[in-house]
Symmetry: C2
Subunit: 216 residues, 2 copies
DNA sequence: GTCAATGATCGTGTATACAAGAATTGAAAT
DNA sequence: ATTTCAATTCTTGTATACACGATCATTGAC
């Protein structure tokens, strides 16, 4: 348990939402949560407000908190923004790359390769996250890194869905290769372009997303 | 006063921070704030946590809240991200422009023109905000609009500083003209490019920022 | 039978009380 | 004089109690 109950609860409830235990639209009763986690309403309310700030739930005054249902279109919009931010991170990384960042990216990239070859989608899911985070860090813009990490976290469940699509694993890794090449070559604009299309969900990938959301 | 004290307090304290009444690094005592605003600590704590989520203050466990001091470099990073998001908004606006958005942009642009000609920096500050918001809305991406609005709000005080720089008013308006042309022409990439350089603070504008921050 | 009004009930919003960790101050020892 | 340790005080974190608005059900009228 984290040092204060509020943040611990935030993570607990967040996980419950991301793992779909609390489905979209579901009402979150403060007292129910309080007794479930063995605390009073006060830290529960703190956690709920933080989740509200993150954008996972909506708190309507005097009417309680409900889990937000983003809907395919909004998810598409979120990926669109994510693509833009990652593109920026990539272009900065390419221009500012130093040795530690280079090594971090290489290491994460290698781990992705192993997971992809093994066809281990769960491992790739994790390694992919590390790969992208390595690029955020390499941008050497702390603010950008924070923004990317936050949005990445929020998109986590949908990313997971995407990886289940046929061939997505190897396609994703191939795209990573191009991105790494561009960054290491110092080609910021190419890195930006590749990351944008890697992260965004254009064309058929959008229907893939909608389809996988329908069957969860 | 808003319907619940928490949000009202959030706005109150936020304004106090943005207007520099609570300076960077300053400690925010819950009881002091509570008695100042005539409420108990509970809504004060709620407001502080929301401000923490926004990024205006930092809450260290058991050690209270302090106003964050971004520092020139971090502000630069924030403008860099803002420029990217606005660029995206502009490019989407150019591709998706409809009649209501076109009218909204035109109206805001006209108001900017008047303020700029009058040399009224306060009026321009406000009209400029409306102009940019019109572009966010024209992107027809609700999520992007929210992100832009949020970041714009956070950068408000520094934007204000920037406008005080000599000739910035007319320069800014001239840039607006180009942006409007590109959007109305449906040239998404040009709109993106122009907005990026309009919003970002490259070169001498960065030293202008640092200088104006030092003398406030 | 349907709709509206009124009262009951439930849940959130706020205040206050209590617990526990951190900062501070003072004294003692080196 | 300086440093360290301990005790006190101050502030935050959590629980609980109370107030008020919203929702729901029941009853009455049309």
């Amino acid at each position: 348990m984290s040092e204060n109950a509020g943040r611990w609860l935030r993570d607990e409830i967040e996980n419950a939402i991301l793992s779909n235990e609390f489905g979209p639209g579901e009402r979150l009763d403060e007292m129910v949560l309080a007794s479930r986690f063995g605390v009073s309403r006060t830290p529960v309310r703190e956690a709920l407000m933080q989740l509200n700030a993150i954008g996972l739930i909506e708190i309507r005054p005097r009417r309680g908190a409900v889990v937000i249902d983003p809907g395919p279109h909004r998810i598409y919009e979120m990926f669109e923004v994510m693509a833009e931010l990652e593109g920026l991170a990539g272009s900065l990384a390419a221009r500012r790359l130093d040795e530690p960042s280079r090594q971090a990216i290489t290491a994460a990239h290698k781990r992705c390769e192993h997971s992809a070859e093994a066809g281990d989608s769960d491992a790739y899911y994790y390694d992919n996250e590390e790969f992208h985070k390595a690029i955020y860090a390499a941008s050497r813009s702390e603010f950008l890194e924070e923004q990317c990490t936050q949005l990445h976290r929020r998109l986590r469940p949908y990313r997971r869905l995407q990886l289940r699509v046929r061939n997505r694993l190897s396609t994703s890794f191939l795209e990573h290769c191009g991105i790494v090449d561009a960054i290491f070559a110092g080609d910021g604009e190419e890195a930006r372009r590749l990351l944008r299309s890697h992260v965004g969900i254009q064309g058929e990938r959008f229907s893939d997303l909608v389809a996988s959301m329908a069957t969860r």
